[in-house]
Each structure stands twice: as structure tokens, then as C-alpha cells.
């Protein structure tokens, strides 16, 4: 089986290369100079497409086990591939949490046929409650290198300190969505002008800023590796930038939708916009963009968090946090491409996340190819998730993943 990708423009090393021909043959991608007509099983015209190394998502959620009606591992696998991802880190906040050897084996068994390479962020504390540790070495023996409590912050400084120390034995990375819960009590959205106008309890920037500063101080003391997930405030960007300049081993990511929406989108009390961290001010958004440009923020994540209809179709303050993020990922990138450019955006979902994970993929071992211009209707028929919590549902979106080649398999969309 050989497939010719004709006239594909590949993005890497900070630029979009001119169109070249590639063949996929014997489980690998090869660059070819001479194209011999009739020699290939299939020829795909890629002249209007862009391609890159396969994409990596450092943060997405499954409902399985426990809340299979939101998302199963099967539906998540299908979604990840159709959204262009060759590798993905799944959060541990299932019921029960992914937290022991058996859980990891279950996860591996359920995801073995994924096109996407599945990784797990194993819970660092039992049930992600922030108290007793999970058996981290035992989990590592199953190949786990990323630990964290996923949707919950590890806010107890003693737990954080000891987790960072314990993970040093095998260079494990502690992922943390850092915020101080006691400074965000009863908060429903970003604290600012809009929350004031809406009479809504806010989640202030300081809740994130204080936690990130505290965690940086702890990391300075312990050493080790820490990755800040879904940062959202200007203060967080500033503090991580400074920590990096001091040589601290920290990395950071941001949710794609954090760069698109802002607090102003919440004025109609639409619970589809209720996410954690909350959509913040334009000033915060600008700082996040700057952080991406100067390398403070290493990766962009989908933060795909499915919520079923009944979890969202209710009063705003009673609705669950979270938004889908996978099928809308490329259309979201599209909206940012003018300001940030494709080479930077692609680096934040390829080389950036690989450096966070401490892995590297040789060029052309895997491939994501997409059409940045193709329009498609995001609706109940095209939605691959079991949930539908996204404000773009029902809208025409621009940007479609065309094929993903990974683990020797080719998936076309």
C-alpha cells in the first residue's frame, strides 16, 4: 500500500515550505523528488492543504469510566484523530480516577486501537482529592511519566512539595492547573467589570497568580519538573516568564479557547461559556498571546471537557464548567492564524508539547494534514463527541483536518 501526497506544503522550523511530494509506504512517510504516475495505490492532491508533524494535545478529558454518557474512550479516540492529534494526554478525573496499575491497564486496553498515541496524566493524589498520594512509582512502572490532579489544583503546598520531590527519581513531570480555591470561593466567571454587571461571584486573577507564585517558590526549593496547565491571567504569564529567565524547569500551556473568547462573551448567561479557568479580560488575552510569541507558553491545548446536555441546560451558577475543544480546535487555530501565523501555532502543538513531555519525534514519523480553507457545518450530524457543549454548535466553521498518519496507520477525513 503506497499513498502519494502530491504538492503538500509542510510547516516546520518556523516556516511554511514550498510544495513537495511525499509517499506513505511501509508505515513511514518519505519525501520523493520524482513522482512516477501510476505507481501508487492512491494519489491525494494536497495542493490546497498544509501539513506538519502529528499534533499533540496535552489536556483532554474522557467520561469513561464513570460518566460514559459524556464521552467514552472510543468516542474520544475518534475525536482526537479527526481533530488532527497524533498524541494526547488524557486527564485523570474519571470515576474512579486513573490512579493505579489496573486503571492504567484498562486505559491501555481501551485505547490500543487509537490512531492517536494515548498518554495518561495519572492522579498524583487518591481520587484527585489533594491528600494521600497515589503509588507513583508503581504507575511509572506502567509507563506513566505525567502526574497531576487534572481539573483540580494541587493547592496544598506540602503535597505539592513532596510530589515534586518524589517524582525526581524518574524525572516525572507534575502537571498542575494552578489556582487557589480559597480565593475563588463560589466563583462562576472571571472577576471584573462583566461579573460586576452580571451580579455574579467572580474568580479573580489573584487566585491564579498567588498559586503560581507559590508553586514556583516550592519548585525553586525542591527542583524537579513542573508544567502549568491552562494558564489564563496576565500575572501567570509574567511569573512564568520570570521563572524561566531564572532557569527554573517550568513549562506552561494555554487552552485554545482562552485565546478566542473573553469575559464579554458571558453577558447572555450562556452556560456554554462557563469554563475553568474562566474567560478573562482582553488584557489577559493579550498577555497570553504575547506569552505564546516569546516562548513563555510552550503549548496550546484543547482542554476538551465534555458535559452532557443536562449538566449545562440550567441556571448559569448551577451548570458545570467545561467546553468541548477537539473538533473546533483547527477552526480555532484558523481564527488565530492571522495574528500568530501558522508556523508558531503549529510549533505549539508539535515541538512545544514534545518538549514538555521530554519526547521528540523525528520528522515525518507521523503527519497531520489539513485544509485551512474548507468550510463545514458543526452540528449534531458532524459532531463526533457524545456531548455538545460548545457555543459554535450550529455554525459553519473554517478549517478541516484531512488526514492523520500515525503508528503506521493512515486515517482520512
Amino acid at each position: 500500500m503506497s499513498v502519494l501526497l502530491r504538492s503538500l506544503r509542510v510547516i516546520d522550523s518556523g516556516k511554511i515550505h514550498s510544495a513537495r511530494n511525499f509517499i506513505i509506504k511501509e508505515g513511514k512517510v518519505h519525501f520523493v523528488n520524482d513522482v512516477k504516475e501510476g505507481k501508487y495505490d492512491e494519489v491525494i492532491d494536497c495542493s490546497s492543504f498544509l501539513g506538519s508533524k502529528g499534533w499533540t494535545d496535552l489536556r483532554c478529558s474522557s467520561g469513561e469510566p464513570g460518566e460514559e454518557y459524556k464521552e467514552t474512550l472510543d468516542s474520544l479516540g475518534e475525536l482526537l484523530a479527526a481533530s488532527g492529534f497524533a498524541k494526547a494526554v488524557v486527564l485523570p478525573n474519571t470515576i474512579p480516577a486513573f490512579q493505579n496499575k489496573n486503571d492504567i491497564q484498562f486505559f491501555k486496553a481501551k485505547t490500543q486501537n487509537w490512531i492517536t498515541e494515548p498518554l495518561i496524566q495519572a492522579a498524583v493524589t487518591k481520587d484527585a482529592h489533594g491528600e494521600d498520594f497515589t503509588d507513583m512509582l508503581d504507575l511509572h512502572s506502567q509507563g506513566v511519566t505525567v502526574f497531576g490532579d487534572g481539573l483540580k489544583p494541587l493547592s496544598n503546598p506540602d503535597r505539592l512539595m513532596k510530589a515534586l520531590q518524589y517524582l525526581k527519581k524518574f524525572q516525572g513531570v507534575l502537571f498542575d492547573h494552578s489556582f487557589e480555591p480559597l480565593l475563588a470561593l463560589f466563583g462562576q466567571m472571571h472577576e471584573g467589570t462583566v461579573s460586576t454587571r452580571m451580579g455574579m461571584k467572580g474568580i479573580p486573577n489573584i487566585a491564579e497568580d498567588v498559586a503560581i507564585q507559590k508553586n514556583i517558590e516550592v519548585l525553586t526549593y525542591t527542583g524537579g519538573r513542573m508544567h502549568f496547565q491552562t494558564i489564563s491571567s496576565k500575572g501567570a504569564v509574567d511569573k512564568i516568564r520570570k521563572a524561566k529567565s531564572l532557569g527554573l524547569n517550568v513549562t506552561a500551556d494555554v487552552s485554545l479557547y482562552q485565546l478566542i473568547f473573553s469575559e464579554e462573551d458571558l453577558t447572555s448567561f450562556d452556560s456554554n461559556y462557563k469554563v475553568m479557568p474562566p474567560f478573562r479580560s482582553q488584557e489577559d488575552k493579550d498577555a497570553l498571546m504575547e506569552g505564546l510569541k516569546d516562548g513563555t507558553i510552550d503549548a496550546i491545548v484543547s482542554n476538551h471537557q465534555p458535559q452532557d446536555f443536562d449538566a449545562k441546560y440550567m441556571e448559569f451558577d448551577l451548570a458545570q464548567f467545561g467546553m468541548l475543544g477537539l473538533q473546533t480546535f483547527l477552526p480555532g487555530l484558523n481564527r488565530l492564524s492571522e495574528e500568530l501565523g501558522w508556523p508558531l501555532l503549529i510549533s505549539k502543538i508539535t515541538d512545544g508539547p514534545d518538549s514538555v513531555l521530554g519526547t521528540s519525534v523525528e520528522d515525518l514519523q507521523n503527519l497531520t494534514v489539513f485544509d485551512p480553507q474548507e468550510e463545514w457545518l458543526y452540528d449534531r450530524n458532524s459532531n463526533l463527541s457524545l456531548s455538545a457543549n460548545h457555543p459554535w454548535m450550529g455554525q459553519k466553521l473554517k478549517g478541516k483536518v484531512k488526514l492523520v498518519f500515525n503508528k503506521g496507520k493512515l486515517a482520512k477525513f
Binding site: 470561593l185 463560589f186 472577576e191 471584573g192 467589570t193 461579573s195 460586576t196 454587571r197 452580571m198 451580579g199 455574579m200 461571584k201 467572580g202 479573580p204 447572555s268 448567561f269 452556560s271 443536562d310 441546560y313 440550567m314 441556571e315 448559569f316 451558577d317 448551577l318
Partner: protein, 307 residues
């Protein structure tokens, strides 16, 4: 202009100054009606209104019900204490069940900010927000401004201080929007912990000294401490609050001017307001209650005309 720009009254934020003026002019007429021997008009004879209260209320519910009956509407009442809400039914299911009985308008009080907005996207009836959590209480703001207009001739150019628990008050937010739309200057005053951090972005003055607020204003609207909405402690004790943020007669006597005292009720006497002020000649608190019926009649009458 003889029609409101919206088919719901979800908040003052969403209506225009012209809408407010129309409501006031209509309320003037209804106030005349209320002072006649026969206080009833047939305006809403074919309309059925459901008063759906998911939070406790005495005066607002009574005021709405009286307004509806004075307009000859058919009225049904529902409150969470005797509803299926406690059995886990959703808001939409509860309201849709009531609407299935052919109800034209819904007056709703709910503890969640934005609950009437959510409802307005999902049901066909006209909706009047009778208070949604810490968000808005539009008819209270309308009757407050109507009462200021009645007492002082006009709202434009007046200085109104809103004193008390601003953070947990829906009355404060609606009053700010309403008074500003009518051209008044607004100040908020209270302990820092009971003021939203970004309240100044609404264009109001911020003060923490009650005596200074009283010196500044023409009208002081004193709000009650919303202990039922405070999930944690925001100040040390009611004793300290009454000593430092309560309004008493001595404070008014120190002013070299007359000011108007308002309170949306119910008053915590001796906490935010002493009896020697609440019952004084400065107070228009009972006028507010009286005007509430006329203003709510105006709102219901006008909304019934918007399809």
C-alpha cells in the same frame, strides 16, 4: 412611544431611558386608579399570570399579586416551598408544566443570577424578573426611582447614595443602572468586603464612611444586610456593623440639609437603619411600597402589549 422595546423585563440594564419614562407615565395613571374608590381596571382581563417564586418573598409577591388583580388578570401562585423543585425537577420543567396550563406571563424570583434570561431563551411567555440572585431586581429599581421622582420632582441631577451590602444586593445593581439612565449621580457605600471590587467601573462613586455618604447625597437608599446570601463571613459582627455602617438620627441631625431616606425592606431595625430614622419625616419607605403596586401594574400592562 407607547410600547416597551422588549417583551420581557429581565433587567434595567436591557431597557432604555425611554422605556423607563413610559413605565413612569403609565404608573402615574395607575396611581390615580389606585386612589379611586374602585381600584380595579379591566386591562388584563384575558391574561393569566403565574407568580413563580423560588425564594421567599412577602412584599414583592404581594405587590405583584395585587398589581395583577387590580388589572383583572387571572393569577396563579407557585413557591418553591410547595413545589416539585425540592424533588429535583429542573427550572425549565417546572415552568413548562405551569405554561402548559396556558399561562401568558411569568413573574419569577430565583436565587440564580440570569435565571430569567435562561428562561426567556426557552419559553414563549413574557417574563418579569422579580429578583434573580445577586443580579437585578428591576421593578424595585423602577419603584425606587419613581418614588424619588415623586418626592423631588425629578431624578436627573440628584445624588443618590446606596448604603449597605452592595455585594449581595440585586436592588443595588438595578438601582445603579436605573438612576444612571435617568441622569442621577450614584454613590455606593459599605464595608470594602461588601462592595464588588470592580464596582467603580459602573461609573459610581465609592465611599466607606457612611456620614460622608450622607453629607454627599440628596437621597440615601439603605440596603439590608443579606445574611441569607452570605455563604461566608464578610464582617465581624452585626453589632460592629450597626455601629459603623448603620444610619441613625444623630447622623441626620449633623447634616445641614434635608435628605430623603429609602429602604427596599424588610428593615433590620437597629442594624442598618434605626427606628428614629425609618419612621421619621425623612423616610419615604411606605411610599415606596405604595408606588410598587402602581409601577408593577404599569410594567405588566405594557409587557402584555408587546408580542
Amino acid at each position: 412611544m407607547s410600547q416597551l422595546s422588549s417583551r420581557h423585563l429581565l433587567g434595567i440594564k436591557d431597557i432604555s431611558p425611554e422605556d423607563i419614562q413610559l413605565i413612569f407615565e403609565t404608573a402615574d395613571n395607575f396611581k390615580d386608579v389606585l386612589n379611586r374608590p374602585i381600584k380595579k381596571v379591566p386591562s388584563l382581563r384575558d391574561i393569566t399570570i403565574a407568580n413563580i417564586f423560588f425564594e421567599n418573598s412577602t412584599r414583592t409577591k404581594l405587590s405583584f399579586e395585587l398589581a395583577e388583580k387590580r388589572l383583572s388578570a387571572d393569577v396563579v401562585n407557585f413557591s418553591s416551598s410547595n413545589s416539585s423543585v425540592k424533588k429535583g425537577e429542573t427550572l425549565i420543567d417546572t415552568v413548562n408544566n405551569i405554561l402548559s396550563m396556558k399561562v401568558d406571563m411569568v413573574v419569577m424570583r430565583h436565587s440564580s443570577p440570569g435565571a430569567p434570561h435562561f428562561l426567556s431563551r426557552n419559553i414563549k411567555a413574557n417574563i418579569v424578573n422579580a429578583g434573580d440572585g445577586t443580579h437585578e431586581h428591576p421593578t424595585q429599581a423602577l419603584l425606587d426611582a419613581f418614588s424619588i421622582r415623586e418626592k423631588l420632582g425629578d431624578v436627573a441631577g440628584k445624588k443618590v447614595a446606596i448604603i449597605g451590602d452592595i455585594l449581595h444586593s440585586r436592588v443595588a445593581l438595578s438601582n445603579i443602572f436605573c438612576l444612571q439612565k435617568l441622569g442621577a449621580e450614584v454613590m455606593v457605600c459599605g464595608p470594602v468586603t461588601l462592595l464588588p471590587k470592580y464596582i467603580d467601573t459602573l461609573g459610581v462613586k465609592v465611599e466607606h464612611d457612611v456620614q460622608k455618604a450622607l453629607e454627599w447625597c440628596d437621597v440615601a437608599n439603605i440596603l439590608r444586610i443579606q445574611l441569607e446570601r452570605q455563604q461566608i463571613k464578610y464582617f465581624p459582627s452585626l453589632r460592629e456593623y450597626s455601629l459603623y455602617y448603620g444610619v441613625n438620627r444623630k447622623m441626620l441631625d449633623r447634616l445641614n440639609k434635608e435628605i430623603v431616606i429609602m429602604h427596599p425592606g424588610p428593615i433590620n431595625r437597629g442594624v442598618e437603619l434605626n427606628s428614629d430614622v425609618a419612621d421619621s419625616e425623612h423616610s419615604i419607605i411606605l411610599h415606596q411600597v405604595e408606588n410598587g403596586v402602581a409601577v408593577r401594574m404599569a410594567v405588566l400592562y405594557l409587557l402584555a402589549g408587546v408580542k
